[in-house]
């Protein structure tokens, strides 16, 4: 029992440390002062108003979500087809492909970021921010998608695809009516993981964005100059969104668990 208390205190301490900055940010997003100061808390929604009026930040937010959605979706599609090809490969070809898939994982992101700079320079692609970013972020999302979808595909009964054809479905139709529904959970998980990886990226975006801003680059732009108070609201906003999503996911998972228990 004593052990538990010691652990609990330590954990609590660390959690407090981790959340202190964010929670403080949330608190001060409701303070209308120019900079965060403890001795002068002026409650108000000014920061939030400024946030929604700040074109730069809003468009960056929009870009971030747009790029994350497109890239994650693209990655899932490429990964799904890739996995279908991979499971039919011979062992050596499979391992080689998986190594290829892991390389972006292993690379430090800044190395990936810089190598892409070289790529786009060599190809002579300039001033194509969205295009470059979507390609780059798809690269971010792709390896994890393959890692998530492949085992799910492997554990699927191989015969199901054959059974569908046996019953008269041409291969394409069999794929969509039987295999994809089975893969859905993995595909959704891959999408979500890719989405969050894309959201979190800074350096790859910074190197290759040609002026297109995401949340990361916008915050970075205020490194050396005093940040506007809207950023506090931005931080609070993102935190709130993540919290809400997590709560919903937990409820949804809890419901599904209950449902499958009832069914037995």
């Amino acid at each position: 029992m004593k052990k538990k208390i010691i652990y609990a205190s330590f954990i609590f301490l660390v959690i407090a440390l981790v959340y202190a900055p964010i929670l403080m940010l949330v608190a001060f997003s409701f303070s209308e002062t120019r900079i965060m100061q403890t001795d002068n808390f002026q409650f108000g929604f000014g920061t939030w108003r400024d946030l929604f009026q700040n074109q730069r930040i809003m468009s960056a937010l929009f870009n971030t979500i747009l790029i994350a959605t497109l890239s994650a979706a693209l990655a899932v599609i490429i990964a799904t087809f890739a996995c279908m090809g991979i499971i039919k490969m011979k062992r050596r070809a499979q391992s080689a492909t998986m190594i290829l898939n892991q390389i972006p994982f292993i690379n430090a992101t800044i190395v990936t970021a810089f190598s892409l700079v070289l790529l786009f320079a060599a190809l002579g692609i300039f001033n194509a921010g969205y295009f470059k970013l979507i390609l780059a972020h798809t690269l971010i999302c792709l390896p994890i998608s393959v890692l998530v979808i492949l085992p799910r595909l492997r554990s699927m009964d191989q015969n199901m695809f054959e059974a569908a054809q046996d019953l008269g479905a041409p291969p394409m139709h069999a794929m969509f009516s039987v295999v994809i529904p089975q893969l859905m959970p993995a595909m959704i998980a891959a999408f979500l993981l890719g989405f969050s990886l894309s959201l979190d990226d800074f350096i790859i975006t910074q190197f290759n964005n040609d002026g297109v801003h995401t949340i990361s680059t916008v915050v970075y732009s205020y490194t050396r100059i005093p940040p506007p108070r809207e950023l506090r609201a931005l931080g609070a906003l993102i935190f709130g969104l993540v919290l809400v999503i997590l709560i919903f996911v937990n409820i949804y998972l809890g419901k599904r668990r209950k449902k499958s228990e009832v069914n037995r």
Partner: protein, 266 residues
């Protein structure tokens, strides 16, 4: 009896993976090759100039060792903090250990920069200056969840039977820890090391945000070189980072296997 090659009606399997291969070759293989190309060639001719620069220029050498030092320091601290947390969550029988784990993971979904922004503002209020302390603190705080998860997974995956067995054989709690739990958790520790060390040694943003002139690291150097379009030298730095990461993987892998084997009561 003639044997003709069967018509590959089944060759669509390769078509499926084709987009993947095209994409990966374009976005991974080609860029990496360019990296090596730029590192060793200047104006079309082979040269060691860039490598020379990397190993002889005092600034770059200092930065190299400094990066290794800071990253190592931050990683070790992170593991020292993560280990008790993971151990506690896995063994102390908390009712909602999963929820607590979730609490640690959630910040990872908030954009790294926003988190750092919050931290810096907090530092501002408290009065912590930019520098080594701020930098290491930031690295640890940002990548702590990455250290907790693998250790937790390994320890909680370790069958309780081992602990019970060693207790049954007469080990007191300290011995149970040092002789059984610790060795068995080495793979987790190694994974945690890799997951923290890699971003730590290659970070640019955190250096820029929390560091000062005395804490310039490899990532920062690479960034500067990129801005100045010094592709040759930047490529060398990139390759250096690549090698460091690969070495780390190999070392942690090795240690992971050996550590696992050294478990047992004696």
């Amino acid at each position: 009896m003639k044997k003709n090659k069967p018509k590959t009606r089944m060759s669509y399997k390769f078509l499926f993976a084709l987009p993947f291969f095209i994409f990966m070759i374009m976005m991974v293989v080609v860029p990496l090759s360019l990296l090596f190309f730029y590192a060793f060639f200047e104006d079309g001719s082979f040269t060691f100039a860039h490598i020379q620069y990397f190993f002889t220029d005092s600034v770059s050498v200092r930065i190299l060792f400094r990066s290794l030092g800071i990253a190592l320091l931050a990683t070790v601290i992170a593991i020292l903090i993560a280990f008790p947390i993971a151990l506690g969550l896995a063994t102390a029988g908390f009712k909602r250990s999963h929820t607590i784990l979730m609490l640690f993971i959630m910040p990872m979904w908030i954009n790294l920069l926003l988190r750092s922004f919050a931290l810096r503002e907090l530092f501002g209020i408290i009065g912590v200056e930019r520098g080594l302390f701020a930098l290491v603190f930031a690295i640890v705080l940002d990548y702590l969840p990455l250290a907790i998860i693998p250790i937790y997974v390994v320890i909680s995956g370790t069958s309780k039977k081992y602990i019970e067995a060693s207790q049954d054989l007469g080990a007191n709690p300290t011995q149970v820890f040092t002789k059984t739990i610790l060795p068995l958790s080495v793979p987790g520790i190694m994974a945690a090391f890799l997951l923290v060390f890699t971003p730590a040694i290659s970070t640019y943003f955190l250096v820029q945000y929390f560091g000062d002139n005395s804490t310039r690291m490899l990532g920062w150097l690479l960034f500067q070189l990129n801005i100045n379009s010094e592709f040759g030298r930047a490529s060398v730095i990139s390759i250096a980072l690549l090698i460091i990461v690969v070495l780390t993987i190999l070392i942690t892998n090795r240690l992971s296997k050996r550590g696992n084997k050294r478990g047992g009561l004696w």
